[in-house]
C-alpha cells in the first residue's frame, strides 16, 4: 500500500509543467496530481489536456485550486453529457442538484452505511442500469481520524489475477437482482411492466404502490478500458448486501455463487494494489469509475468528515477519444 499526504511525497514523480497547470504522476500507470501553476481557475484548465490525463491515468487529484463546493458543477458540467438519474433524486447539497453527500446520500434511497463504518471495494453504482462513467469527490472537511478513501486500479488488478479467476469472469456476466427506489409513489396504481434501454437490463416493472423499480442487471465484472487495449476489473462484487438494499441478490448469470477461493484471491490482490488517499480541504478528485474500485476506511461517528459526490453517467468526451495508438506510444 502507498499513500500521499502532501505533494512532496516521494512516490509522486515526473513533475511536469503544462500550459496552466503542474502535473505530477502518482505512479507510472495511473494517478495524477494537478496543481495550478499560477493561481489558475480550475474552469480554465485546457479541456483536451484534462480529458487526456483522465483517460491515461484514470484518477486525477486537483489540489490547491481553492474553489468552493458551490462551484463544483461549473467544473463537472464541462466534462458531463448526462448526470446519473438515480443520483439526481438524492438530497442535494450546496444548491446543486447533482451534488450529494458521500456518506449520507444513499440513505433515502434505502441504502448506505450508518455512521462511519468501513465500506468495501466497489465501483459506484456498478450494479445499476445507470452506471456512472466518472465520479467526482470534493472534500469540504477532511476526517480528523480515519475515513481515508482507498483506490484500486482495476486494470492492474485484472493483470494480477490468475488465469483461472479471469476465465471465470470472462465466461459470463454477474446477475444483480435489483429493487431501485424511484422517489415517487402512486398508491393504487399497481404494477406497470417497463423497459429500460440499457444493455443487460431485463425483467423490468414498476410497483407504483411502493415506488420501486424491479429489474435484473447482467453485467460483466470486467470491461474494456478506455484505451481499448486493456481490461479493467471494476464491479460491485464485494459490498455486503446487508448494506446495499437495492441489491436483492447477486450471482453469476447461470445462478452459481462466486467461489470463496476466487473472492479471497481478489481481496488479497486488491489489498496489495491499494492506494490510500488522505483528504485535504478542497481536494477534488475525478475517477474513472469503469476502471477503478474505491473503498472507505472507518471513522468515528462524530467525525466532521464531509465529502461530496457527483456522478457523471455519460462523459462529454467519447470513450477513449484521447487515447489513439499514436498518443499512447
Amino acid at each position: 500500500m502507498y499513500s500521499i499526504n502532501n505533494l512532496s511525497y516521494n512516490k509522486v514523480k515526473n513533475k511536469e509543467r503544462l500550459c496552466n497547470m503542474i502535473k505530477q504522476e502518482i505512479s507510472d500507470d495511473w494517478g495524477c496530481i494537478i496543481t495550478p501553476s499560477n493561481n489558475e481557475d480550475i474552469q480554465k484548465l485546457e479541456y483536451n489536456e484534462i480529458v487526456y490525463l483522465f483517460e491515461r491515468y484514470g484518477a486525477l487529484l486537483f489540489r490547491g485550486f481553492g474553489f468552493p463546493p458551490e462551484k463544483i458543477t461549473t467544473v463537472t458540467d464541462q466534462y458531463t453529457e448526462r448526470y446519473s438519474g438515480e443520483a439526481q433524486r438524492r438530497p442535494s447539497r450546496y444548491g446543486q442538484k447533482v451534488v450529494h453527500d458521500v456518506d449520507m446520500s444513499g440513505m433515502n434511497m434505502g441504502r448506505g452505511v450508518i455512521g462511519g463504518a468501513s465500506v468495501g471495494w466497489h465501483s459506484e453504482n456498478g450494479f445499476s442500469p445507470t452506471w456512472p462513467e466518472v465520479i467526482w469527490l470534493y472534500c469540504v472537511t477532511p476526517p480528523e481520524k480515519g475515513g481515508k478513501t482507498m483506490l484500486c486500479d482495476g486494470k492492474a488488478l485484472w493483470e494480477a489475477l490468475s488465469v483461472k479467476t479471469k476465465s471465470f469472469f470472462t465466461a459470463q456476466p454477474v446477475r444483480y437482482q435489483l429493487e431501485i427506489p424511484i422517489g415517487n409513489k402512486k398508491p393504487g396504481k399497481g404494477i406497470k411492466p417497463w423497459f429500460l434501454n440499457t444493455i443487460g437490463t431485463g425483467d423490468c416493472y414498476i410497483d407504483w404502490d411502493t415506488g420501486i423499480l424491479h429489474c435484473t442487471q447482467l453485467r460483466f465484472a470486467v470491461q474494456e478500458g478506455r484505451s481499448g487495449r486493456d481490461l479493467c476489473f471494476s464491479n460491485h462484487l464485494y459490498i455486503d448486501l446487508d448494506t446495499e438494499p437495492q441489491i436483492i441478490s447477486r450471482t453469476m448469470a447461470d445462478g452459481q455463487e462466486i467461489p470463496e477461493s476466487i473472492m479471497e484471491e481478489i481481496h488479497q490482490k486488491a489489498d496489495n494494489l491499494t492506494f490510500e488517499h488522505s483528504w485535504e480541504k478542497g481536494d477534488f478528485v475525478m475517477v474513472d469509475n469503469l476502471r477503478f474500485l474505491h473503498a472507505r476506511r472507518a471513522y468515528e461517528k462524530d467525525d466532521p468528515r464531509e465529502l461530496l459526490l457527483t456522478q457523471t453517467e455519460r462523459a462529454s468526451f467519447g470513450y477513449g477519444s484521447s487515447l489513439t495508438r499514436k498518443s499512447i506510444n
Binding site: R82, Y83, G85, E86, Q88, R89, K97, V98, P129, T130, I182, G183, N184, K186, K189, K192, P193, W194, F195, L196, N197, I206, W208, L213
Partner: protein, 78 residues
Amino acid sequence: MVQKKYDQAFMTTFDIDTSALGPDLKYESIQEWDSIGHMGLIAELEDSFDISMEMDDIIDFSSYEKGKEIIKKYDIDI
C-alpha cells in the same frame, strides 16, 4: 382542456413552467427528463387521461410534440 391536462403532466413531473413547453422539450433535453423522470411522466399522463399506454408508445414518447401524436392513439383529441 385536454391540452391543459397534457401540459400540466409535464409541469408537475418536471417542475417546469409553461415557457419550457414546446418543440425543444425532448427526452434528456432537461436533467429532469431522464429514464426515471420518464416513468413519472408516463404515470402522470396515464392518471390524467385514465389510459394505460403500450410499451412501444412509452418508448416512442421522445418529445413533447411526439407525445401529442401518441396520445391521439388513445382517442384523446389534443
